[in-house]
Amino acid sequence: GAGVSQSPSNKVTEKGKDVELRCDPISGHTALYWYRQSLGQGLEFLIYFQGNSAPDKSGLPSDRFSAERTGGSVSTLTIQRTQQEDSAVYLCASSLARGRGGYTFGSGTRLTVV
């Protein structure tokens, strides 16, 4: 596609429910990244996929968070048993291999846990 597409754009969920956030990267971009944007916290790295390599999960805040990337394209970020502190904007970005060209970001999913 022309850009990085994320869905849904907004999600309100009850505490304790599971949510899935989707990211469709730019065609041909082999690297895909998830970040979390919170007020006063800037952008927090969550997870990174590069081609067929094992993902870098070093930024996932707890084992309630997981992500997968199927067929080297679409990625899903799953948050289990959501908590109020999970409320944030979740951003996906993609880039050519090794990020030389800089990232292209999606418009994000605003998650609100009530």
Partner: protein, 110 residues
Amino acid sequence: AQRVTQPEKLLSVFKGAPVELKCNYSYSGSPELFWYVQYSRQRLQLLLRHISRESIKGFTADLNKGETSFHLKKPFAQEEDSAMYYCALSEHNQGGKLIFGQGTELSVKP
């Protein structure tokens, strides 16, 4: 540990005034530095990168390895420059993962 610091949460200037958004980093290797910008209700986008030595929308940034800084400058601010600005460092040996600063909100008043 790798870190990017933007000391100012908010920077307010008048139209036509010079502006400098500060960014300092700590990194043991040879860094690649970027500035990203997010205008109101728009997605985060790349503004410039140090390896390109380019000027975008009148903004420039010079990498100073001695001071470990990558400050963003513009000689004459415009109202349309009002946005959130993020400095970022690429962990090149980690596949291009970016470490972001906490961001500086630039407000340009008429």
